[in-house]
Subunit: 337 residues, 2 copies
């Protein structure tokens, strides 16, 4: 009845890069702050806590008249049977008629838009002179965070990599970073990458800290954090996850991607539940900073946080860009649904 | 990365019929009552109240290890531009790995499983000797409700059709019912179909009343309803919709498809909000009646209600049946996602 474009991960990889995703996510954050989007309630389910879960994110972008949803699952044991741990599908609809426009692999778009989110926190909140980034979590997402960070902040020349679960992973990421970033179109030949074990010393010397772990307990302690540091906390996206000591929150200028979602499932969840901060302590959504309606960092001494839980409109705007280019170039399979 | 089966509405029509859907929905209601399913929170959005909306229903069926979601929109103006008013896509995933199994048109499956739901209310709650069914609402869904009702209750020999918005619609449905039901594989040659204008008298003489309208105000009044009547209320599925006088509720034995969803958005919503009934007045979910754990109708005088809001597991179990047959018969398009 409808001609719907189906796009595989490989096809999507041939169409968009990290810079496209940063532009798209920056635009959609601003649209959100202008009231031109709607983020619908998150649906999450744990098949087995810590082992397998899934979430459904959905929303609407009025400005470009699309809506849609993404269901992404995490099955930690998949790797043992040769499947990716993160799998999902994104469906984009025309918001004027409800006609489905595309069904896309959600994996690569999720990687890109998540990297873009962390980096936009850096772009708008980190100190101008920031040059030392610490990456906490050496999983798949670390690469996209580093790529996007380097795009928005070419001044970064030193990246420390820490992984609490596996030092070997952080060594592997450090050793292969230049090559892997080049594959994403990012030249990191002048950046020093170092796997680290002593997180305390590393944090003390970092300008920017990006966290992308599935942790449910603090990894970065309050005492380690010097004034002027920026945090982009990316890992906490379901209730109970936490990456930084909740006591840091009271020292921070806090920014979020979506107020409701961050309060419920983001990095700030624990601090709010423990009354260390209240929702009123949130300075604003990043889109408000992008629009200049809310001030971001106001001094070199500020400790800033961008708490990003991930919202469907990031995926949708990126997917729309992908679909438009795919149509132009004739990429993908058109099927009748 | 994954081979996913895509099925169009036409392909799905060639695979399942109303009897299949009744069997599937009956099974999944029972699985739900056995705790082997999970119905996830409903996401709804009004683009323009009463004009265009969409909902996302999702859930998990442990017994057959699938989960998934369906997004269906209603754009009332579509018909003017040659598009259906109801459009949607259903995505089914393997609950052991998160791998997507199929992307299906949701329209026909929604029609079938909604008809099946109304009919299962009749099967388990209407009087054994019921023979006069009144169909309120002469839209597209009326056909599926009548088809499924006739499958579960071959004794029905008289169907009155009422449409408060358009008498012409009810005449058209009545005139074409035998032919259209035959196309769905249901022989209704011995059934009398009659379009009616006087709803009061019709209700007074009905054994079974099925409502499938988008109404937001009561259509059937309390005073009209005689003891022994059964209601399957299908139309109310978002907050604010209502088809029957909330004062009937206190006279009724109330059964639901999903307790939470019916309290929040079902036919019983208004009665609960106005304190005419409380959630404790719900006798049970229909699945509990199917399993024999809760009694359904206990006397010929009972006025019974099956409030069905529609749950994703109905779609998912039907979709799984469709996918299995499609695989066996080699129907559909396999794409790489």
């Amino acid at each position: 009845m409808f001609n719907v474009r189906i796009l595989s991960q490989e096809q999507i990889k041939s169409i968009v890069n990290i810079q496209d995703a940063i532009d798209a996510v920056e635009k959609v954050y601003a649209l959100k702050a202008s009231g031109k989007t709607s983020v619908w309630p998150l649906v999450t389910y744990d098949f087995e806590v810590g082992v397998s879960d899934m979430d459904i994110k959905s929303g609407y972008i009025g400005e470009i008249e699309i809506y849609g949803m993404k269901a992404v699952s995490y099955f930690s044991q998949n790797i043992k049977i040769g499947l990716p741990n993160l799998i999902g599908v994104l469906v984009v609809y025309d918001a004027k008629t409800g006609v489905p426009l595309g069904v896309l692999d959600a994996g690569y778009i999720t990687c890109l838009r998540t990297g873009a989110a962390g980096a936009l926190g850096i772009k708008y909140l980190a100190r101008e002179d920031a040059s030392h980034l610490t990456m906490i979590g050496a999983g798949k997402q670390a690469l996209y965070q580093m790529a996007a960070a380097l795009v928005v902040r070419p001044k970064i020349d030193y990246i420390s990599i820490y992984d609490g679960l596996s030092f070997e992973n952080s060594v592997e990421v450090a050793d292969n970073a230049v090559k892997m970033l080049a594959e994403l179109g990012v030249d990191a030949s002048n950046v020093k990458f170092e796997a680290v074990k002593d997180l305390k010393t590393t944090v003390e010397n970092s300008d920017i800290i990006v966290t992308t772990t599935p942790s449910r307990a603090p990894i970065v302690m309050n005492e380690w954090v010097k004034p002027g540091t920026h945090f982009s906390c990316v890992g906490s996206d379901v209730s109970g996850k936490q990456e930084i000591d909740e006591n840091i929150l009271s020292r921070m200028a806090i920014f979020v991607d979506d107020r409701t979602q961050c309060i419920n499932v983001g990095e700030i969840e624990t601090g709010i539940k423990k009354n260390i901060i209240t929702p009123d302590d949130i300075c604003g959504e990043l889109g408000e900073v992008i629009l200049g309606r809310v001030k971001g960092r106001v001094s070199k001494e500020d400790i800033t946080l961008f708490d990003t839980t991930g919202i469907a409109i990031q995926d949708l705007i990126t997917a729309k860009k992908v679909l438009d280019i795919a149509e132009e170039k004739g990429i993908g399979t058109i099927v009748d649904i």
